[in-house]
Amino acid sequence: MFNERFSKITLVLLILFYFGNSQLYADDAPQKGFKITKDTMLDLGITLTPEFETNTTKASEDTVTVTEADGVTTEKKAEIISDLILHYAPSIRIKLDDSDKTVGFGVYFDYNHYLGIEDSKTSKKLSELDLKATILGEFNKSGLVIFEFKDTLSRSSSPDGQELSGKHRNLLNAFETAVSFKNPADTLFGKVTLGVDLNYYEDSKDRDAMKDYNYVSAMANFFGRWKFLPRTMAFTTVAVRYQDYYESSIRSAARSVPFNVFVGLMGQVSQHISTKISAGYTGVFSDAARHDYNANFELVFKHEKGTYLAFGYLRNVKPSATYSWSGAHKAYLNFNQKFAKAFLVALNFSYSYLNYGKSIEYSGKDEWTVQNDGSYTSEVKDDTDTPVAKYEVVMPKGRRADHLIQLSPSFSYNILAWLGLKLSYTFEYKDTDYFKKTVVDYLSEGSKVTTTSHYDYIDHRVLLSVVLDY
């Protein structure tokens, strides 16, 4: 009985494999997509992914809440909650593409259904619909002056802290328009981009603290390159952004103007090796100015069309809502190997050293007072001006610095040109000495709650994706 069933399954798999490969790699292999007009194609896709995650809220084992009430002290550690998440991700893309113009629209949904296998509340609190919609246009592509625009709206969700209390829902709209120009031989190319980003947390409607993260950001960017040899170019970028956290309680301290300028070389240096090297200056100007450098070095090894190996180093600095700026030193390695035309193994690894500016979370807030030991205190009074609660926040005196390790191997199999399977695993580990201790002394009730949040965590994820895209 078992052997019979096994034989049937094997036969079906062999047939799928045979037809899959014969269709994929035949000279007259069918193209994907539905042809709407002569130059317009429509693609439809759906990805179904069961995912098992061991630490859904990225909680630290050391985070603890101590409650003292009525002479009794209770201690509660943060829970590490694992769960099985089902992703249902349909997508649609339509694109008109001819020699003069490209106009495209795509929308992608991802419903994350938490099954709540360890804690049934997970399902209700974290399940959410994410989406991403993009519209773009490129005009006069065959000319020497090219016009482009692109708008991307994304909605994403993430747990709102280490406790299983809810989720953040973030809306981000990024619009940009660009003019590019080049010489007839296409050796010289320049591009001027202007754009506006708008970021909004849906939960900021009900939670004032989340308003600190809403921002509007205008940017201007110039990119130029000179291809002085085949597959090789020199390039430069000059860019500036004005980022205003328009609803923030620390608006004047958080508002920042990052400025970046860098030059670099990129291209093939031998038959199998390519490289990129760039470096420049980054300044982040807010209440205080941060002068730093940016750099990127990458070495790429390619062999035939089967092996790809890249490793490199990246240094960058970004604006931050609560630290003025944050920077990363990142070392990374990406490898993929294709074999038997339908299989791909990949390995991505990165180590990042993340450093932050001085915390500005309580800067300029009248209700908070800085104490001599560096802690912040605040009192809440009732109508008769009698203190009912006292708050204290303690953070380490030094600047925050984190270590982040990410590792992700995967295995993919293309059964048909439009059907594939992917098994992947991701490991994420953050190590940091940074903590935040918050003490609430409920004077009127005679109770006290002390929460010490730590931010180191380990998270494992295993995903099996069935991808259909036609």
Binding site: F34, M41, R93, K150, A185, K227, M266, K276, N316
Partner: protein, 239 residues
Amino acid sequence: MRKFTVLIFGFLFVLPVWADEGNDVDPNSLMGEVDGFLANIAAAEQNIASLSKEAEKAKDTKWLNCVKGQASRVSGYSQSATQMAGEISGHINAGNVREAQGKMINLRQFSEVADEAYAQAQACERSNPNAGNTSSVSRVAADTVNPSPVEDGSAASSSNEDSVTAAMTSDNTEGMVTELDTSSVSGSDMADAAGQDGNDMVEAPSSSNPSDPVTSGVGAEAAENPEDRPSWEPVSRTE
């Protein structure tokens, strides 16, 4: 013993001289190679020019645009090649054979690119496929993720083979449905800069961070994530 020592040192002294002689290259043969490459580039330029005339005669704008794109490309490389040939000649006359050999590698690349451009020009798609040349490149597939500038027949695009993007990025994933970025519709990579023309000015963009819609979801595009903010908020506790 003394004789033996002198012999050994003498041998060591002349060894590099012999070795150098062994690597010596005849300047005349180098110049012959230079002329060969230049002739090859000129031939490709001429062939594309005649294709261009053919396209003009046929009044096929699509075909003409595509061929002209390749003509511009070869013209640019031809100028650089002529300049490089002058430099090589200068190095040979100055006796710097090694420098000349180094430049020869680049000249060879120019010559190869010229051949590729001619091949691309021959394969340019026509509005009326029955006219003239029967070879044609298929329309771009519905693969909106990895568009190939060569295949879309765009005169503005350069050959994928000699593009910077092709040199820097992985092409192993082409055709792998599991590696598609279905969360986004993509443009034509007009800059051919492996994404370096991206407008995220605060980060020097890195090609090492391919978007993976399955593992990262659209959350990868989100702005700063306040995951480190504790859900516990002192002020809201009293509200």
